[in-house]
């Protein structure tokens, strides 16, 4: 339940509503980065994100697609270059079938379309909490290289 989450989102309103939803649902262990480059740096533990006690490796990345510097899809591709990366949930305003299939093709674990209302967003974050943080079991990073 206390797995760390990384939210990659550049739109300040969306950041506000997501933070609001996290707060209302009691999710406290989350970090926010606002562009693709920061996301890559964070996940590599580079630059200002080198201190893992302050910036823990996330279990779940909530990833927007339209991002400054590096697009979400490219962030995802870089994450999937190495085995044992985090769960990546795309959270995008786009319901375009091309975006959805390229998201899954690049290795997304889920693709969620941003709802247009506050309740919708709250419900969505609640589902994420229930499924991904409560029921879903994540692999131990020590076994990342174990292949079936």
């Amino acid at each position: 339940m206390n797995e760390p989450i990384l939210l990659v989102e550049d739109e300040e309103n969306d950041i506000f509503f997501m933070t609001d939803a996290f707060n209302r649902l009691g999710i406290v262990n989350f970090q926010i980065v606002t562009d693709g480059q920061q996301a890559v740096d964070y996940l590599r533990g580079e630059g200002k994100f080198s201190d893992r006690s302050q910036f823990p490796m996330p279990t779940i990345v909530l990833l927007d697609l339209k991002l400054p510097f590096i697009m979400g899809l490219d962030v995802l591709k870089r994450i999937r270059e190495r085995p044992g990366g985090p769960i990546v949930i795309i959270l995008s305003a786009s319901s375009d079938p091309r975006d959805i299939s390229s998201g899954y093709a690049a290795g997304a674990n889920a693709y969620l379309v941003k709802p247009s209302s506050v309740e919708g967003l709250l419900n969505l974050v609640r589902s994420i909490k229930d499924f991904w943080l409560t029921h879903n079991v994540v692999p131990d990073s020590r076994f990342a290289s174990v292949r079936p």
Binding site: N13, D14, F16, D20, K114, S116, S117, V118, L121
Partner: protein, 447 residues
Amino acid sequence: MNQGAQFSPGNMSAGDFQSSSSSAGGVNSAQERLLAFSKLGHRLCSARTQRDAIKIILDIADTFFGWDACTFDSYSEAEDAVSAVIVVDRIGDERVDVEPVVRNQKPTRRMRQVIEEGPLLILRKPPIQMPSDAVPMGDQSRPSASLLYVPVRSCDRVIGLLSIQSYTPDAYSVEDLETLQSLADHGAGALERIQAEEKMQQLNRELEDRIAERTAALAATVGELEAFSYSVSHDMRAPLRAMHGYAQILVEQYPGKVLDETAVDYLSRIARSAVRMDLLIQDVLSYTKVLRGHVTLEPVDMEGLIADVIDAHPQWRSSKASIEVIGRIPKVVGNEALLMQCVSNLLSNAIKFVVAGAQPHVKIRPEQIGNNVTIWFEDNGIGIAPEDHGRIFRMFERIHPAAEFEGTGIGLTIVRKAVERLNGQVGFKSTPGQGSKFWMQLPKATE
């Protein structure tokens, strides 16, 4: 006129002309000539190019009176210009197709004489000098000794010039000239037909090129519009979500303060407007999808589809609307996604447009006419006044003020466009106060 004839042995085609053994004096039996003439029409019919047709004429001319060289020039009266189509000359023992050099040129003095005065027989006495304006051919050292020169005429209009020539003095007679003229007259019809066909093919090619060009330009425009509408609709929805969200948060959990009734009302209006704008954008998006999306036609189970649509709209149940399917609906040929959209829009309208407080009742009734299935959606709503009948399928046309009935005015436009794309039809019958009957007609699927 002497431009230096090119002749290319590469063009030599032994099978093109049956080579007569002697340069002059071929078949002369009247019977054989008659037979050749009788077959001429049939042979000319199969000619597809001017060269083919002329070669048939020259071939027969060869069997009649033989030749060493021959030319055919097409003539355009409008431009007063000749272009060589066929030039053949005997080089040594062989006849060689010489690359024609005359293209869109004024006729020579001799050509003009033939065009204006008719067939010409020239018999030169040795020693023969090359005429100064002779059109160069393969072997330029030998001027022709005997020439038959005839106009090829169609309806008194000269369309070409045919000449056969021999290096043997006195090879041809006046009768030969008459025979060649009648051969040319026979060929003229075929030539004209071929010219018309070639012109038509040319026009067709030009037309196809132009269509291809415009199609490409249109496809590019459509592509740009697609990208534009996609990004506009997504970028437009983000600030709306924000407007809606902040208004809602203010109403629900503004920290530490209680808002008065007026403030809450204004905030709700902001939120409602945001929702409405979002609906508009979504509808425009659906419309553009219906407009240009890829559509495959396949058998669709309408009964299952209608049930799915009803399941997807729990708000219809909560409004206590009853939807009743009367009779078995046959499968139709259509597209599931588009038909879902149509059924959903038609049912939404049927349920929405009722007198305030009334319980909506919709009957769905199939009717089979020939190979088509018409599906009726009959409601007990407010109906549509006759003066509004022309407007309701138009985009953004709303008959009722938004305060009375929610909507964007795009729903029926989407239905009509979708049904058009499915090769179907849509329409309605309605009387104010007595409900509306919308129908959708689609081809029946073979079961």
